[in-house]
């Protein structure tokens, strides 16, 4: 985690674009842990998660000159790269994917999601907001974001029309947005 006086993310990205390796180290120290946790959550295994984070930070290293602040903050940009790559790998392993609903239940209900002590209030608020959603909306969001399922797969495994998937996703995210708005500046904000 960064300390007061550490360079803001925009400054770190500018240094990264200038091919400053120490900037890459700073970026990793800030977001490597969260990126790894996200990749592990999606893939469920450490070697793949490590490769995803490695590739994501290298992509950031190469792509820093093209980073545009108006498209999102650095944290969101990096984690979206991690997410995209992890989901890409998961989809390639279709044959090895566990049955979706069972997997979703296991993952959603075990200690790794609900019971573990939270690091800080921002994390707690996101979890609480997710848990507070109606089960169908929460599952739709979790299966899509953490499970890597496409909209057609979601409709199939949940046994609902495509329009219902879209509706659950939209309403669920809107509720999350309202619940998180007070803390959004901290949890999704820029350093």
């Amino acid at each position: 985690m960064s300390e007061p006086g550490d360079p803001p993310d925009d400054q770190v990205i500018a240094a990264l674009a200038a091919r400053d390796l120490s900037a890459l180290a700073v970026l990793y120290d800030r977001y490597g842990r969260m990126g790894y946790a996200l990749a592990y959550r999606i893939l469920g295994e450490s070697e793949g998660a490590e490769d995803v984070v490695h590739d994501a930070f290298l992509a950031a290293w190469r792509g820093a000159p093209g980073y545009r602040r108006e498209r999102g903050n650095v944290r969101g940009w990096l984690l979206s790269i991690v997410h995209h790559r992890a989901v890409d790998i998961l989809r390639r392993k279709t044959a090895f994917r566990p049955a979706p609903l069972e997997a979703a239940e296991d993952r959603a209900d075990d200690a790794d999601t609900a019971g573990e002590a939270v690091r800080n209030l921002e994390r707690a608020s996101v979890r609480e907001a997710l848990v507070a959603l109606p089960a169908a909306q929460r599952k739709t969001i979790e299966l899509a974001y953490f499970g890597g399922y496409t909209q057609v797969e979601l409709a199939e495994i949940m046994g609902v029309p495509l329009g219902t998937v879209k509706g659950r996703m939209r309403i669920g995210l809107q509720k999350l947005r309202r619940a998180l708005e007070p803390s959004m500046g901290a949890s999704g904000g820029e350093r």
Binding site: D55, L58, W61, Y149, T150, R170, R177
Partner: protein, 246 residues
């Protein structure tokens, strides 16, 4: 204009089929209203990783990332001078000019060494350029007694050129060869893509003369001698191929 508002949530969580994703992406470039809405949705989606339980990455991961980036890094700028975006031609010309200045004052042995250095530098610059344009890549981790070594298979978007950038290759017997294989989609045929000896450098580039995305897997074996059939130990491998059909 047909807006894409009702697809933005699924777009933000990457749950749209490729054809729809591309259509939404194209629309967003010319529609500020949809773009603003996506930005608001993306802020919520970006918060989702906060719900994931904390997990400590392996300690080696940080060093591995920095080592890979260092392998791609260009020659550092001189201290005190503003750094500018890397341009292959500028560096190549600068390198040759510097070599020419030095050549005026050195003996023939030094000349040979400088020529070698220039060739290595040009190879390095070509690799950097190719990596910069790489569209897809797969990392192959060394296993067993080859742990610590590895290689990244790159495919460049513009030319389809493929190569593997190996790192920390272990020494092997003088007659032995590292051999790169491409495995067909049915898993039945192993096509030899390259065969080489380690050059002792931290990084080694090996070019692949094949359309690698037509294959399912890339594997590296250590063979006792040059061969067209794999019989040695598989020391690193990765699944490869086209993106999954949506």
């Amino acid at each position: 204009m047909n807006h894409v508002i009702d697809e933005l949530e699924l777009y933000a969580v990457d749950a749209l089929p490729a054809v729809d994703r591309d259509r939404v992406t194209a629309h967003l470039t010319g529609c500020p209203a949809c773009h603003d809405e996506l930005t608001a949705i993306a802020r919520v989606v970006d918060a989702l990783p906060e719900a994931v339980p904390d997990r400590e990455p392996p300690a080696r991961l940080r060093d591995r990332i920095l080592a890979s980036a260092r392998a791609e890094a260009p020659v550092p700028a001189a201290p005190g001078r503003a750094r500018t975006p890397w341009r292959p031609r500028r560096i190549a010309v600068a390198g040759l000019a510097a070599a020419a200045v030095v050549l005026a004052a050195v003996d023939l042995g030094a000349l040979n060494r400088l020529q070698t250095t220039t060739e290595e530098r040009n190879t390095l610059h070509r690799t950097i350029a190719d990596v910069s344009f790489a569209e897809r890549s797969w990392y192959m981790r060394g296993t067993g007694e080859y742990a610590g070594s590895g290689g990244t298979l790159y495919v460049t978007g513009k030319t389809g050129r493929a190569f593997v950038l190996f790192h920390d290759l272990k020494p092997i017997e003088p007659a032995a060869r590292y051999t790169v294989w491409l495995v067909t989609t049915d898993g039945q045929r192993w096509i030899r893509a390259a065969s080489f000896s380690p050059d002792g450098q931290p990084n080694q580039r090996v070019d692949i003369d094949a359309q690698v995305v037509a294959y399912r897997r890339c594997a590296v074996t250590v063979e006792a001698a040059a061969t067209e059939r794999p019989s040695g130990l598989v020391v690193m491998e990765s699944n490869i191929g086209p993106p999954p059909a949506q």
